[in-house]
């Protein structure tokens, strides 16, 4: 490493950061590919069928075949579409889903940018994703995608608030905006010290609004394939694939966030012998997989909400619940029982 450092001289920090970015993004994209595979397999078994099993052993090469197929396909640009915005939209969707990973810690040390306000950074970045969706619907100049964009804009904006309030509870409990500090604050004897228990209502609100945030069933009204086909109805080939990748990258992102914020990140289930032997990184992966499994399970089980019902749920249920619980936590912290919430 020192050899490279001397070779590149002043460029070394840039190159080293790029290497780290690749080290995060490459496994992430592979993860995205295999989340699609896992989704098809898991939902397949839930639906008494077996899912993909033709390409490669157990169908393991299926995501690669799908990716190749989409890359080979033509990107059709509708004649009435605004070409520049049409092509910009998938990028705008994908970029935030990847940028947010810059501040995600995998272990206390393993993090690309351990900044103090990492939670705020994530909030800011993930809010950008909706622009991609809105732009896709608008630039397509087509009626169904336009409806999808309208729905998505309204939905994401309102769930952002509920989600934000749920996170305020976490930062009140942890007294920090830094993700590493938040996880460290959850350290305790067992999983009962993680924040899902003291902040249980917020945990529920966060889990549900994160499903809404990433446009997954039962909140997939922006896509709503049986109603309006989706905001990306006019997209094909790689342009469509980028939306697809963004959706799954976002899924992994919110799963990671819920693991870090409420499920103790890399902390083991119990803080004693056999459990502490497993490295923290694998604990984190296991928790992410668990949350992802929940997302898939939701999709296999629930019917889809109607668009106005989603809004009602967001504004009339989640936001009041979070506000009340925030006040409650704030009040309790001033009493001798406050240690329960730290």
């Amino acid at each position: 490493m020192e050899f490279f450092q001397s070779l590149l001289g002043p460029f070394w920090p840039v190159v080293w950061t790029l290497v780290k970015i690749v080290a995060i993004v490459a496994p992430l994209l592979l993860g995205v590919a295999y989340v699609t595979y896992a989704e098809r397999k898991v939902i397949g078994y839930m639906q008494v069928r077996i899912g993909p099993n033709r390409v490669g052993p157990l169908g393991l090469l299926q995501p690669i075949a799908d990716g190749l197929k989409l890359m080979m396909k033509e990107i059709i640009i509708p004649s009435g579409a605004n070409k520049k915005l049409f092509l910009l939209a998938p990028v705008l969707c994908m970029a935030p889903a990847l940028i947010a990973w810059a501040v995600i810690p995998f272990t206390p040390e393993l993090v690309l940018a351990n900044i103090d306000a990492s939670l705020l950074f994530i909030m800011a970045i993930t809010s950008m994703g909706v622009y991609g969706v809105v732009l896709a619907g608008w630039a397509s100049n087509s009626k169904y995608p336009f409806l999808g964009a309208m729905r998505s804009a309204a939905q994401i904006v309102s769930y952002e608030i509920a989600m934000g309030f749920a996170l305020v509870g976490v930062l009140m409990a942890a007294q920090s905006l830094n993700l590493v500090e938040i996880v460290k604050a959850q350290q305790g004897a067992s999983f009962f010290s993680w924040y899902w228990l003291p902040l249980f209502p917020l945990f529920l609100v966060y889990m549900i609004s994160s499903v809404a945030e990433i446009n997954r069933a039962p909140f997939d009204v922006a896509e709503g394939e049986s109603e309006i086909v989706g905001f990306h109805a006019e997209y094909s080939g790689m342009a469509f694939a980028v939306f697809f990748l963004a959706e799954y990258a976002n899924m992994i992102l919110v799963a990671t966030l819920s693991s870090l914020l409420f499920l103790g990140g890399w902390l083991p289930l119990f803080d004693f012998a056999p459990f502490t032997w497993i490295p923290g990184f694998f604990w984190l992966i296991a928790k992410i997989c668990f949350v992802l499994f929940l997302f898939l399970w939701f999709r296999a089980t629930f019917p889809r909400y109607r668009y106005d019902q989603i809004m009602r749920l967001g504004w009339k249920v989640f936001i009041p619940v979070t506000l009340v619980w925030l006040l409650f936590i704030g009040g309790m912290m001033q009493t001798p029982l406050g240690y329960l919430f730290h």
Binding site: I43, M46, Q47, V48, R49, I50, N53, K143, Y144, L147, R151, A217, P218, D220, V221, G224, E225, S226, E227, I228, V229, R299, A300, T301, F302, P303, R304, Y305, R306, Y307, D308, Q309
Partner: protein, 419 residues
């Protein structure tokens, strides 16, 4: 200031929820439907006109293709109309077989309906669960007629042949690899006769319906999506000519099987479920209960059919072919066979309307004969056509997502609407 106009959306014919080829022009205010204008005719195949150029027997398979998810029920109305004109008595065993297959068909239809309806509302798992059970029933179709969908099993004067003594068995395919024990398990209820298989099904089926209800009936999202959606009052339902579950969902216990029993329905014990509010949720409950009742009827038919062997088609050689043995040895029978399959049967002059309680509602055949070997006119009364006409009234003021739920609840199949 520019004029504000409603958003006009062309819903279908190429839409995942259009149930085939429905094209609907929706006038939207935001997402709220102001007017729904269904356009039909994209699946028009001129069945009624074709029937005027075919012998009576040749039109039976066309009936399968009307409502292609309740095949035998369509045939049933058609052959009953012919029998009515001929004044023909159908052997009692054939009547039981017909009733049993009508109920199998009703379950087939309702299973497809619940699958498609739930899929439209977003619960995709229901679809595959429903198809798992459909598979068993289609095997019954196949065992009895040789075809899984378009059976052509009912004949004027009875049914094509008696129930088989054995069920087809699963065999190992190269892929996916099933072990010997898997195959054995899949064949475990297929060793006896077809009646054994159906009886086994009637025992399993109620638990399956329970499973569906676990997934949907008390599901908050499902209720939010269906309760108070597409409410239609009993008066309006009658005025619009709605029949079947669409009418019973509004609280009117009208069922042709009870009101004007045909075949042996008067000997069957079953209940007619009715709703109270006339919304999508009530119609859902009505159809779920109908599946249980159909199951009951099937069981009664199986019990009777086990005990009472007999002929399954009339011995009137002007209508039904003689058996092959007699045909090979006897001139008279040979001539009958030849005449029947070349010229076809002659139906006396007159007109008849025959309606049955089809899974979707009242399915009727109006037949006019001038005494020739072809119908002079055949008119098909398709329940879905009347349901479609209520679409505008039911959809007004609801949102796009509800239109999709409405199409599900109407159980639309374009084969019968466009004919």
């Amino acid at each position: 200031m520019p004029e504000i106009r409603n958003y006009t959306l062309n819903f279908g014919p190429q839409h995942p929820a259009a149930h085939g080829v429905l094209r609907m022009v929706l006038e939207l205010d935001g997402e709220v439907v102001m007017r729904a204008d269904p356009h039909i005719g994209l699946l028009h195949r001129a069945t009624e006109k074709l029937a005027e150029h075919k012998t009576f027997l040749q039109s039976v398979p066309y009936m399968d293709r009307l409502d292609y998810v309740s095949m035998m029920c369509n045939e049933h109305a058609y052959v009953m109309a012919i029998e009515k004109l001929l004044g023909l008595e159908v052997p009692i065993r054939a009547q039981y077989i017909r009733v049993m297959f009508d109920e199998i068909t009703r379950i087939l239809n309702h299973l497809l309906w619940i699958g498609a309806h739930a899929l439209d509302v977003g619960a995709m798992t229901m679809f595959l669960y429903a198809f798992r059970e459909r598979e068993d029933l289609m095997d019954c179709y196949e065992a009895v007629s040789g075809a899984r969908l378009h059976a052509a099993y009912y004949r004027p004067g009875g049914v094509y042949r008696d129930l088989p003594d054995s069920m087809p068995q699963y065999q190992a395919a190269r892929m996916p690899r099933h072990s010997e024990s898997d195959i054995k398990l899949m064949n475990s209820n297929r060793h006896g006769s077809m009646l054994d298989f159906i009886e086994d099904f009637t025992q399993r089926f109620p638990t399956y319906v329970d499973e569906y209800e676990t997934l949907l009936t008390d599901n908050r999202i499902w209720k939010q999506r269906t309760v108070d959606i597409g409410v239609i009052t009993p008066e309006r339902a009658l005025a619009k000519g709605l029949t079947g579950p669409m009418l019973r969902g509004s609280g009117l216990a009208w069922d042709i099987r009870k009101q004007q029993p045909y075949e042996v329905y008067d000997r069957m014990e079953f209940d007619i479920p009715v709703g109270t509010n006339g919304d999508c949720y009530d119609r859902y409950l009505v159809r779920m209960e109908e599946m249980r009742q159909s199951n009951r009827i099937m069981k009664q038919c199986v019990d009777w059919l086990r005990k009472n062997p007999g002929p399954v088609i009339t011995d009137n050689y002007k209508v039904a072919p003689p058996n092959r043995e007699a045909m090979k040895s006897n001139m008279e029978e040979l001539i009958h066979h030849f005449k029947l399959f070349s010229e076809g049967m002659h139906v006396p002059e007159g007109e008849a309307y025959c309606a049955i309680e089809h899974p979707k509602g009242e399915f009727g055949i109006y037949l006019v004969s001038d005494g020739a070997n072809k119908p002079y006119r055949l008119k098909i009364r398709a329940p879905g056509f009347a349901h479609m006409s209520a679409m505008d009234e039911m959809a007004r003021g609801h949102m796009i997502a509800d239109v999709v739920a409405l199409m599900g609840t109407m159980d639309i199949v374009f084969g019968e609407i466009d004919r």
